[in-house]
Every structure is written in C-alpha cells, then in structure tokens.
C-alpha cells in the first residue's frame, strides 16, 4: 500500500510493479500498419495518459491490452497473462469511447450486471456514489443526458474494484463542471492505489491528471515521460506585453522566433527569454503588462507530432 502511494504521487518513477505490458508489438489491418513496434509498460499506482492524433494507434494499443485484438507479432501481457484469458481481465475496469448500453435497463440493473462479472465487486450504491450517479439508480439508461450516461459508464468501470482502469476518452461530451467532477473521482481512485490508463484528446486533461504521458504517432511511441519532462522538450517561451514597438522590427531581432499582434498586445516566442526581455525593456521604457510563459503541453504535442509527421513523410519518400 505504501509503495502504491509513492508510485501514485509520481515521486519514484518505475517504482510501481508492472501490471500490463506491450513489447515489440506490430498490428496491421489490411494495408494499414496500425502499430509498428510498440513497447509500453503500465505500472501500479500511476496514471498514464496516452496521447496522439487520430489514427496514431492509441485505440489499437488499448484494444490489444484488453484482449479485443491479437497482435501480429510481439507480446501482450495483462497481469502476466494473455489478456484474452478471462482471469486476467477480472482485475481491470473498462470505459470505452462509444459503447451504447441497453437503453431500457435501469442504472442500478446495469451496475448489478457488471458487478456480477467480478469476484469481489463494490456494492451498487458505493459504485454509484463514487461516480456521482447515486441519484440515477432507478432511471432507465436511455432517459439520461450524454454526460450522465458517461458517468454511468464510469461507474460500471470501477464497480469491480479494478487494479487497472482503462478509460478511453472518458470526458467527451461533458461540460466543464461534469468533467472536473470526473477528474476528482479519477484522482480519488488513483490515490486508493488503482492504476489508470487514459486516452484523451484534451491535453488539459492529461496535464491535470497524468503522472506519465506517452505520445503516439504513426503507430509508434514518440515520447514518454512526465508532463513536465514533455513540456521541457520544447524550449520555447511565450512573451506577451503591451508596447509601442512595431511588430515588424521586433520580428527581425535575432532572439525572436515569431512575433505577431495578439489583440492589442505584442506576442513573441523565443528560445532566449532573458536576452529578449533585456532588449525589450531597453527599447521601450513604457513597456507594460509583461508576461512570460513556458510552452504548454499543446505546443510540445504539436511539435512532437509535426516532427513525427515529417519523419514519416521522408521515410515514405526514401522507400
């Protein structure tokens, strides 16, 4: 338990035991090579965010770990066993992106059914409370709003006391408030020792939750590390200020990578923030409302996947 908590806080990387693993996995659908040699480990107590543009191979990687697909080559392990072995899947919870549940069944009935698959599940009320759907137990699934349906699916995912939880785009279609509620429920589960794999389109979701981020593109893992480490891979900083200086002349400075007007503010990106600031302040003594920011996960992500795109393109040309 103590180990789990250390792992959960991200203080000791790799301290958690390996719960699931892809090694050297290739998967092809017809002519499309979905995965080309993916190695991935999911460890106890961590929240891993799997990011990547559409078609990067995230869903295929998850489907392999859930035993929905078989790898063409390489090995897939879930708790040291084949994920197609039902005993291995008794320790996981699953929330898939587009699963529509039987519309006429009530929420309580759906929870009872899902819980019946597990050896020692949570009670129906406990699961519903954790997911914030305790007031919906008597309602038919079809009568719920989109956000409520997603929360019910989350309740189904956690009802079996999983040690590893797969969440595929869990907050799609949720408003901000619902999303933040779900985030805090996920954090509570992680604090309780449950490992989570999350795929998401929302970078702020990964930024808010993940202890480790894995970026995929073109069927490969192109970056792996903490959110901070990923951000740090992008050295650029953003500088904004209110100034009398002219954009064109600022853009010509050697420290500036890009300059433009953002509303009535001057906006610049730079690899040498300190030098740029000295020059700015010297050039305009009226300079006001100065802000300096590290690039966000979004920039890091764009830069990484752009690089992967051009690498893939040049590979195609060479071939």
């Amino acid at each position: 338990m103590a180990m789990d908590r250390i792992g959960a806080s991200g203080a000791i990387r790799g301290g958690g035991v390996v719960l699931a693993r892809l090694s050297g996995v290739h998967k092809r659908y017809g002519k499309v090579q979905a995965l080309r040699g993916v190695d991935l480990e999911l460890r106890g107590g961590e929240l891993l965010a799997l990011l990547g543009p559409n078609g990067a191979g995230k869903t295929t990687a998850i489907a392999l770990l859930l035993g929905l697909l078989r790898a063409d080559s390489g090995t897939v392990e879930l708790f040291g066993a084949d994920p197609q072995d039902i005993a291995a899947r008794r320790s996981i919870g699953v929330m898939l992106q587009d699963a529509s549940l039987p519309p006429t069944l009530k929420v309580g009935e759906l929870l009872r059914l899902a819980a019946s698959y597990y050896p020692a599940p949570r009670g129906v009320v406990e699961s519903a409370e954790l997911a914030g759907v305790a007031d919906l137990l008597q309602r038919p699934y079809a009568k719920l709003s989109g956000g409520q349906q997603r929360r019910v699916q989350f309740a189904l995912a956690l009802c079996g006391r999983p040690r590893l939880l797969f969440l595929d785009e869990p907050t799609v279609g949720m408003d901000l408030q619902a999303r933040q509620k779900l985030w805090s429920a996920i954090r509570a589960l992680v604090a309780d020792g449950c490992a989570v794999v999350l795929t998401t389109h929302y970078l702020e979701e990964a930024e808010a939750l993940a202890s480790r981020v894995c970026v995929m593109a073109h069927g490969r893992i192109i970056s792996e590390g903490s959110v901070d480490a990923l951000r740090a891979r992008v050295a650029l900083k953003r500088v904004r200020c209110s100034s009398r200086l002219d954009v064109a002349s600022v853009a010509a400075w050697p420290e500036v990578v890009e300059a433009r007007m953002d509303g009535d503010r001057l906006w610049m990106s730079t690899a040498h923030a300190e030098a740029l600031l000295r020059r700015l302040l010297a050039a305009d003594d009226q300079l006001d409302a100065l802000e300096v920011q590290a690039a966000g996960l979004a920039e890091a992500f764009t830069e990484l996947t752009d690089a992967a795109d051009s690498a893939a393109a040049s590979q195609r040309e060479a071939a």
């Binding site: 708790f79 066993a81 320790s91 996981i92 699963a99 069944l105 899902a114 019946s116 597990y118 050896p119």
Partner: protein, 258 residues
C-alpha cells in the same frame, strides 16, 4: 526490466460465475419485456396467420387444423431464434456493447446462454398461444401428451435457428440484419412447406426441402401432433448437426472479427 511483473490470476468462486449467468439472463429477459415493439410482432405474426388460414378458412376439419398447428408452430418458432439472436447480435456489435462486454470479464457463455434462454421463452410463448387457439378455437382434438410433445419441440426447436441467427449476426452489423434475416426466414418457411404442403409444390422444390432446418423441425412437429409415424431420430440428428455447424462458424467469425 526494472520492475517485477505482477501476476494475478484472480480466482472466481463457482457460485459467483453462476451468478453472472443468472444476471445476464435476467437482464436479457428484462430488456425484451420492456421493448414490446420487438417481441409483439414475433409473437403475434404466427398467431394471426394461424387464425386466418388454420381456423377461419378451415371448416371443422380436425386433421387439417392439426397439420396447420404444426406448421405454424414451426414458422413461429423460427422467428425468436433468427431475430432474437441475429438482430440483437448485429445491433450490439454495431453499438459497441459487445466490444465492451468482451473487454469486461463477462463469461462468454453467459452472453449466449442469456439470449438462448430468452429465445426459448419466446418460443414457448408462441407455441402456447397457438396451442391455446387450437384447443379453444380450432377444436383440433389434441391429447395432453401431444400438446406437451409439440411444446417441447417448439422450445428445443428454436436452438438451430438461434445458431443460424448468431451466424447471420456475425456477417453484418446494425440495421442491415433484419432485412437479410427476412430473406432467410420467409423463403425458408415457404420452401419447407410451412405455408403450402410440400406435396403441392414442384418436385424439384420437394427434393430440395431436406436442405432447410425448418423442414426437419416441421417433421418433428407433425410427428408430435400425431400426423407422422416416421422415426424422429434422423431429424433430431440433422438439426443437432445444423446447430453445431452454425455455432462453430459463428464462433470462428466472432473470434476473428469481434
């Protein structure tokens, strides 16, 4: 590897596995009881046919009434198997429900058994309704053993059609399934002599009839109501063979394609 691999084959007590089967079947039955739009046509269609052709147009001929009771029972039993399995599987593959269930530790047998049980319940309802009509409206003069034999034939006879529905359900997804199933259902019923006796059909179609599972089920139904003395065993074996064959093909497709 810097970390040890956790292995955890979680044991599941037998009683809980049985519980999963019960829950799955319970939910399957609840779903369809709450969706009368799906069930009512399956139950009422053969009853209305029997009422029109077997009762209203048949004036006091007990043997003809029994003959039509047998063939409309066969006709009525095909639908819950074909549609209950085929349509629901095709829809559930399309909606992602089956994918979710395959990812969850659901015992795969529970899914199939739940649907099978549901189809058997509907088949029993269809059969019982036709029997009640034959007793109270057609005065077909069936003895209690004959009635029980026909009902048992109905309930077990749905199984090969469940297997065929399962196979069709693996061939296509979503809304296309009902159309294809009708293309299987109605011609097969016609070619097996369920609407017109085979004797009045062209010789070629008569020779083809043993190819259709419904022909064999109808032979068993006729034997149950005392209109045939031929041995039942060959028909039972052929139906068992059909069931097994369809099941194996369907299981292979499901394993490969999900």
């Amino acid at each position: 590897m810097d970390a040890t691999t956790m292995s955890a084959a979680v044991a599941m007590p037998r009683a809980r596995i049985f519980g999963a089967y019960v829950e799955e079947a319970r939910c399957e039955v609840l779903r369809y009881l709450r969706n009368p739009g799906f069930l009512l046509p399956i139950v009422l269609f053969p009853a209305v046919f029997y009422l029109m052709f077997g009762i209203a147009l048949n004036h006091g001929n007990g043997e003809a009434a029994r003959y039509m009771l047998a063939s409309y029972s066969t006709f009525g039993v095909m639908a819950p198997g074909l549609f209950g399995f085929g349509v629901s599987l095709a829809l559930e593959r399309d909606s992602g429900l089956l994918t979710l269930k395959r990812a969850l530790p659901m015992p795969p047998g529970a899914y199939l058994l739940g649907k099978m049980l549901m189809a058997m319940c509907v088949a029993a309802t269809v059969g019982a309704l036709l029997l009640a009509m034959s007793v109270f409206l057609a005065h077909a003069g069936l003895g209690p053993t004959q009635m029980l034999a026909l009902l048992a034939t109905d309930v077990l006879g749905v199984l090969p059609f469940c297997a065929l529905g399962l196979l069709v359900g693996t061939l296509l997804k979503g809304q296309g399934a009902p159309g294809l199933l009708n293309m299987v259902y109605l011609p097969m019923a016609f070619l097996s002599g369920l609407w017109f006796p085979l004797q009045v059909m062209p010789k070629f179609l008569q020779q083809l009839a043993p190819l259709w599972p419904s022909y064999h089920l109808n032979a068993l139904a006729l034997s149950a109501v005392g209109l045939s003395d031929a041995s039942r065993l060959p028909h039972v074996l052929v139906l068992a063979g059909f069931t097994l064959g369809f099941l194996l093909l369907a299981a292979r497709r499901l394993r490969r394609n999900g």
